[in-house]
């Protein structure tokens, strides 16, 4: 076999990733420690800190490979830390209004904010996918720690095969969601958000993420038992983030069924699933 290798199409900037992970973990910790009582003030502090760190500018500038390589790890760090500051919204609009701070305890099953411009909706959907993948990772990591500490029937939950397999399936959904999310992001980063095949990749990624959110939340809550269903335990933040970002993602794409039907229509028009999928996944190719 020849040893000729190919470089990944897209890779997050490791320096930004490290800085963002550290910063958002710190911000989230301080937010959750100090809120109790004056939540508005806590959120304002958070906003000010994000302004200072320069992450907001990086997101507003995400429109090419380098831009996205910085934006993606910032989004993921915020989601992983469950810092209640909606960094993805900055992809859609340069304004750094209070709109980006949100109440982490509130979930209303609404569509969330929808930008008017199509380009902004696409950028926001790409951001939501990154946030969802990272929030899934965080929920799963929390659960993996919990099942190794929590004992029932005289042994850690992690030793029960039913738990092992349930979390393995959740991990598979995380990997699938990340693969779909990153595939769409790589397309936007290398070909721009006007690329014909991006619509396919976004609809596909939304469907994969939508299912992933169901499976991952179910497995994580189930493994945690009642503690995971409390407001103060950290799973709740990731769980609610997953719901709000999933809902907003589908709203941005016109709904879950619309995503599926559009993909189905493409396959029908092209005369085959295989033809459609391979074309949409070919760099520089159109979808059919």
């Amino acid at each position: 076999m020849t040893r000729q290798t190919t470089a990944p199409l897209f890779a997050p900037d490791p320096v930004v990733a490290e800085a963002a992970e550290r910063a958002f973990a710190d911000l989230a910790r301080r937010y959750h420690e100090h809120r109790g009582g004056n939540e508005t003030a806590a959120r304002e502090k958070l906003l000010a800190a994000v302004e200072e760190l320069g992450f907001a500018e990086a997101l507003a500038a995400a429109d090419d490979r380098e831009g996205w390589a910085q934006a993606a790890p910032i989004l993921r760090a915020q989601a992983r830390a469950a810092a209640p500051i909606d960094m993805a919204w900055l992809l859609a609009t340069g304004e750094r209004a209070a709109a980006i701070a949100y109440d982490p305890d509130c979930y209303d099953a609404g569509a969330g904010l929808l930008p008017a411009r199509e380009g902004a909706r696409i950028a926001l959907a790409l951001g939501r996918l990154q946030q969802i993948g990272a929030a899934m990772e965080a929920a799963l990591a929390l659960t993996l720690r919990y099942v190794q500490e929590r004992k029932q029937f005289g042994r850690p939950l992690a030793q029960f095969q039913a738990i092992q397999h349930s979390l393995a399936v959740a991990a598979e959904e995380v990997a699938a969601t990340n693969a779909a999310a990153d595939g769409a992001l790589a397309c936007a980063a290398t070909e721009g958000i006007a690329a014909a095949r991006l619509a396919f990749l976004l609809d596909a990624a939304a469907l994969v993420a939508g299912r992933g959110v169901e499976v991952v939340r179910d497995a994580c809550h189930q493994a945690h038992g009642a503690i995971g269903f409390t407001r103060e335990y950290a799973l709740a933040r990731h769980s609610l983030d997953l719901l709000r970002w999933r809902d907003n993602l589908f709203a941005l794409r016109g709904g879950e069924l619309a995503c599926a039907e559009r993909l189905g229509d493409r396959a029908l028009a092209a005369g085959g699933l295989w033809r459609t999928v391979t074309a949409a996944m070919t760099a520089g190719g159109s979808h059919d």
Partner: protein, 379 residues
């Protein structure tokens, strides 16, 4: 373990190769040489394998001196996925190309490579896997087939089961006990290239639930195996059989087994698709794209010389689940298809019959999930 794989685009040379493979398949179909159907493990056609070999598409990543074409893993990926998507009859050469050849390339002696690899690459000889036994399924370390040292070689005694196409193939790579199992139970195992037509080898058919004779029971009754047919070091068998699992578990054969059925459903409804069918096809396309992205990422890592075995187990489990979901969805939609072609009803029956085997072969769902769980640090 990593739950985020790097995004790889297939390089332009691989995409050019795709066009060649599609053209080849179109010619084959136009000439009526075979009908699409079956999957990588059931659709057996030696003449097809030889035509494929003539194109340089068997053993295509191997060095030229062993009959290979020195193409990349990503080029091989494209050839295999196009053949599988088309329902081409790849079963004859599949194991030799995917598994036995690479094993010999990595662990075989120079004379074994020179003897077997060029013949595999020419589509002349086909291999079976001799691993499972009546008491050793998922628990492979429990194998009892024994090879005892005798003058000039080894004497093999034992029984292998589920040996696919042993009645048609030329050789099997047999895993046998040659020494003590040790504490780990993984010691004392060795691999041998066994001539399936040799004296004291009996191949008995095992007909599967679909009514086909693919499986066999292979009985070794003091079979003589020459010294130079031992693969690698004696006692190193466990390492050898488990070292290339990424290769066996991450490929498109793990998520394309029911694609023909989905394509047939699409063809039945192209003019008047119901909303539910449009939705179902869309969900399949989404799932397929994600699986394929992960499979390509692993192929790129294989090309770079890595062996991501845990990630491959993850892809196989997800892929097998997808293959089975497609059947359930197509069955539910069958009644509202505007028409049902023979291709659709045949594919529905075939996939329904074969589906239980998909989540067994190459590592059961339970084994795969346990591997992923270990990767997550749970065991």
């Amino acid at each position: 373990m990593r739950l985020r794989f790097p995004v790889h685009a297939l390089p332009p040379e691989a995409e050019r190769l795709r066009a060649e493979v599609r053209e080849f398949i179109a010619q084959e179909l136009a000439a009526g040489l075979w009908k699409p159907g079956g999957d990588f493990a059931s659709h057996y056609d030696p003449a097809f394998s030889r035509r494929l070999a003539a194109r340089g598409w068997i053993g295509m990543t191997w060095p030229r001196r062993y009959g290979g074409a020195e193409r990349t893993m990503l080029e091989r990926f494209v050839v295999t996925e196009e053949l599988l998507a088309a329902g081409a009859p790849v079963a004859a050469h599949w194991i030799a190309d995917r598994q036995s050849g690479p094993l010999l390339l990595r662990y075989g002696s120079e004379s074994q490579r020179r003897e077997f690899l060029p013949r595999i690459a020419r589509g002349e000889i086909f291999f079976s896997i001799g691993m499972s036994e009546p008491d050793a399924g998922s628990d492979l370390a429990a194998v009892r087939t024994r090879a005892t040292k005798v003058a000039g070689g080894w004497q093999l005694t034992g029984r292998k089961v589920w040996t696919t196409f042993a009645h048609l193939n030329h050789y099997a790579i047999v895993l046998a006990r040659t020494g003590d199992a040790g504490e780990s139970r993984h010691a004392g195992l060795s691999q041998f290239i066994v001539d399936l037509k040799a004296p004291n080898v009996e191949v008995r058919p095992i007909v599967n639930m679909a009514g086909a004779h693919e499986f066999n029971e292979v009985v070794f009754d003091g079979t003589f195996v020459p010294e130079d047919r031992l693969v690698g070091e004696p006692g190193n068998g466990w390492t050898q059989v488990t070292s290339e699992l990424a290769f066996e578990r991450s490929g498109p054969e793990r998520y394309l087994s029911s694609l023909q059925l989905a394509e047939a459903a699409l063809a039945c409804a192209r003019e008047r698709p119901s909303p539910r069918l449009r939705e179902a096809l869309g969900r399949m396309a989404a799932r397929l794209a994600a699986l394929r992205a992960m499979s390509i990422a692993i192929a790129a890592e294989l090309q770079a010389g890595e062996m991501p075995n845990v990630e491959a187990a993850l892809v196989k489990d997800l892929g097998n689940a997808f293959e089975r979901e497609v059947i359930a969805v197509c069955r539910a939609l069958a009644a509202e298809l505007p028409r049902q072609t023979a291709e659709f009803t045949t594919a529905l029956a075939q996939t329904t019959l074969y589906a239980p085997s998909w989540t067994l072969r190459g590592g059961t769902r339970e084994i795969l999930r346990s591997i992923v769980a270990r990767g997550l640090g749970l065991r």
